[in-house]
């Protein structure tokens, strides 16, 4: 079974998701995980589907890109193997005056501590820059990671908080 990673990016308009989903459905592709949002007004969608060959999906999505407003990419990916043991889930929030390199420095500090970013969003509004990242940390490392993050944030002149993610099960 082919597993495909597809991205669709470009000028937003009503109906892009429907167009993409219909094209995939016609090919018998099973849309599994997907995410779509608007980034500063630009349409941005990433999805995984299984079924058809990459070339067939590319051809089916080609009309979407015909007017030059959207870019669609398709590539075959290897299905994930066994999932590694999860770390401890935390939420890192960073906010402060916008400047170059906030995400780079903060995520490097996380990576150096063995942390893995599992979800990330950033927003610039006025001069306020906000980063919220969900991260998995090596068990028992959160205090040390919090210290590293605080030092990096102080160098950048931004604030950071690291909190255990809410994992209530109902």
């Amino acid at each position: 079974m082919n597993e495909l990673a597809i991205t669709v990016i470009g000028r937003d308009r009503p109906g892009i998701v429907a167009d993409v989903a219909e094209a995939l459905a016609r090919l018998g592709a099973n849309l599994t995980d997907s995410t779509m949002t608007r980034l500063r007004g630009h349409f941005a969608m990433t999805l995984i589907c299984v079924g058809p060959a990459a070339a067939d999906v590319e051809a089916a999505l080609a009309p979407l890109a015909a007017d030059g407003q959207l870019l669609a990419t398709v590539r075959a990916v290897t299905p994930d193997g066994a999932i590694e043991p999860a770390g401890e889930p935390y939420v890192m929030a960073v906010h402060g005056a916008d400047r170059m390199g906030i995400v780079a420095a903060m995520t490097r500090a996380l990576a150096d501590a063995g942390g893995n970013v599992t979800d990330l969003s950033t927003r610039l509004t006025g001069s306020l820059y906000v980063v919220v990242a969900e991260v998995e940390l090596p068990p028992g490392s959160s205090d040390e990671v919090a210290g590293r993050l605080a030092r990096t944030a102080a160098e950048l002149g931004v604030g950071v908080s690291l909190r255990l993610a809410d994992t209530d099960l109902l």
Binding site: V91, A93, H95, G96, A97, D98, D119, L120, S121, R123, T125, G126, S127, L128, Y129, V130, V132, A133, E134, V158, G159, S161, R163, A165, D166
Partner: protein, 186 residues
């Protein structure tokens, strides 16, 4: 000496005997919003004036249910709250100002969407206690207050106490996709 905590005892902002002046509200990333405020002397003239100004500024700001000293550029543990008439409020203590307030009991945590005058373009999902006990002091008399509340007033109190500690709702959002561009402005 242990203070004897009581309720608001009918306290109203008029007890400050000052009209209060509207002060400009600062926005993130102003560093004053990220600095923990010091405790204050609730009887000092400066704090009484600040309390009156917070109430006055809160009252002229549409939809504002609470305002903390750092939001008017003063790093201090003083805030005003008034959730009167808010559709989500259950228990309502009217308009009041607390100094040096601390959360002493917090239970029944619930997620809810929050905004902030100092972060005007964003909202976020934040988990807060919906049953809350707060202890603080009244400006002017310095009388100790123990407030038991719930629901939206509890959320507002936690938001303002956070401000006094140099924290924004952004520091408590539930996850990477729990921050939203504001769509409706009051």
């Amino acid at each position: 000496m242990t203070a004897e905590y009581a309720g608001l005892g009918g306290w109203v902002p008029e007890a400050l005997a000052l009209p209060g002046e509207v002060r400009p509200v600062v926005s993130a990333p102003d560093p004053v919003l990220s600095r923990p405020g010091p405790e204050v002397d609730p009887k000092s003239d400066e704090v009484v004036r600040l309390a009156a100004d917070l109430v006055a500024t809160m009252r002229v700001s549409p939809g504002c249910v609470g305002l903390a000293a750092p939001q008017v550029g003063v790093s201090a543990q003083v805030f005003a709250v008034d959730v009167t008439g808010h559709p989500k409020a259950v228990t309502v203590h009217g308009a009041f100002v607390l100094c040096n307030a601390k959360v002493v009991e917090a239970t029944r945590w619930k997620a809810g969407r929050e905004g902030c005058m100092s972060v005007p373009d964003l909202t976020g999902d934040v988990k807060r206690a919906s049953r809350l006990v707060v202890e603080g002091m009244l400006p002017g008399t310095g009388a100790p207050v123990r407030l038991v509340t719930d629901g939206f007033e509890a959320r507002a109190l936690q938001h303002e106490i956070d401000h006094c500690a140099g924290l924004l709702f952004l520091d408590r959002v539930a996850g990477a996709h729990a921050v939203y561009q504001r769509k409706v402005y009051l």
